[in-house]
C-alpha cells in the first residue's frame, strides 16, 4: 500500500524533515520518493529504516557508490538534496558525525541561501528604483512587496543556519 503525504519544510528546517521521516518510519510508513512537498510512502515494517538528508555539491558516482557500499540507500535526489535511508541498526543514522564535516555541510547550505538572497536582493532593489522612476503602478508595489518578503525570509534562513553552526561549535 502506498500513500502520498503533503508537507512543506523550509531548507533550514531539514533536520525537522529528517525527524518527520523517522517518525513516519516508526508508524510503518517508509519513504519511497520525495518531491516538492509531496512525499510518497509505502506501508512496511515500523522502524525498518532511518532517514537522513544531505545538501550535496558533489553528486559524483564515486560518492554515491561509496555511500551505497556502507549500506546507505539513495531514495531520491531533489535539487541539491539527497534523501537517504539505512536499515535501522539501533544506532542514529547520520551522514556527518564530527564537528568539522557538520559545519562544512551547513556552510554549503548557507552559501546557497546567500547566493539566492543576493539575486533576490537585486530584484528588490531594481523594483524599488523602478517604482520611483516610472509612473506609479500598483503591480510594482505588489512585486516589491513579494521580493521584500522573499529577502526577509532568506535572511531569516541564513540566521537560522548560523544559529545551528554556533550550537555545534559550542557543544564540541
Amino acid at each position: 500500500m502506498t500513500k502520498t503525504f503533503f508537507k512543506l519544510f523550509f531548507v533550514w528546517d531539514y533536520e525537522k524533515e529528517e525527524q518527520w521521516l523517522n517518525e513516519m518510519s516508526k508508524k510503518g510508513w517508509q519513504l519511497v520518493s520525495p518531491g516538492l512537498g509531496f512525499y510518497k510512502f509505502k506501508k512496511d515494517t515500523p522502524n525498518k529504516y532511518n532517514y537522513a538528508l544531505e545538501f550535496v555539491s558533489d553528486n559524483s558516482n564515486d560518492y554515491i557508490d561509496f555511500l551505497e557500499e556502507t549500506g546507505i540507500e539513495v531514495i531520491g535526489k531533489y535539487f541539491n538534496w539527497n534523501y537517504y535511508r539505512k536499515l535501522n541498526d539501533g544506532k542514529p543514522f547520520e551522514i556527518y558525525n564530527d564537528q568539522e564535516s557538520k559545519i562544512s555541510h551547513l556552510e554549503r547550505i548557507k552559501r546557497f541561501l546567500t547566493v539566492f538572497l543576493v539575486i533576490e536582493g537585486f530584484f528588490l532593489f531594481y523594483n524599488i528604483i523602478d517604482m520611483f522612476t516610472s509612473d506609479f503602478d500598483k503591480y510594482d508595489l505588489y512585486s516589491t512587496f513579494i521580493f521584500l518578503i522573499i529577502v526577509l525570509l532568506f535572511t531569516y534562513g541564513i540566521y537560522r543556519i548560523d544559529t545551528i553552526i554556533k550550537k555545534i561549535k559550542k557543544i564540541n
Binding site: E54, D65, F66, L67, E69, T70, I95, N97, D98, S101
Partner: protein, 103 residues
C-alpha cells in the same frame, strides 16, 4: 612537517590503511580499534579520505573490473606522518604518567 597534529579520525584512518581496505572496512576497523568509541559516518569518512588523498598520505588502489568498491592504502609519506604522530602521542603519555605518577 614535525608540527602536524592529527585528529583522532585521521590517525585511526591512517592506521587502518596499513593494509588495503575499502570504505566500509575502514569504518569497521576504526570502530573495533577504538572499542566502539569512534564511529565515522559515511559522509565524514568520505570527506576525510578525499582530503588525505589530496595530502598524498593515502591513495586509492586501481579498481578491479566490474567492482564498484574502491580500496585505499597508506603511502610512504602517510606512514611517515603516522610515525611522527605516534612520537607526539608517546610524549604526551610519558609526561602524563610522570606527573600523575601512575606508573
Amino acid at each position: 612537517m614535525e608540527n602536524i597534529t592529527l585528529t583522532e579520525a585521521y590517525y585511526y584512518i591512517l592506521l587502518s590503511l596499513f593494509e588495503p581496505l575499502h570504505g566500509y572496512g575502514i569504518m569497521q576497523k576504526v570502530e573495533t580499534m577504538s572499542n566502539g568509541r569512534l564511529t565515522l559516518a559515511a559522509g565524514t569518512l568520505y570527506g576525510a579520505l578525499t582530503s588525505l588523498i589530496d595530502k598524498e598520505w593515502i591513495e586509492a588502489l586501481p579498481q578491479e573490473k566490474g567492482s564498484r568498491k574502491k580500496e585505499y592504502i597508506i603511502t610512504a609519506l602517510g606512514k611517515e606522518i603516522a610515525k611522527i604522530e605516534l612520537k607526539r602521542l608517546e610524549e604526551l603519555v610519558a609526561n602524563g604518567k610522570k606527573i600523575m605518577e601512575v606508573i
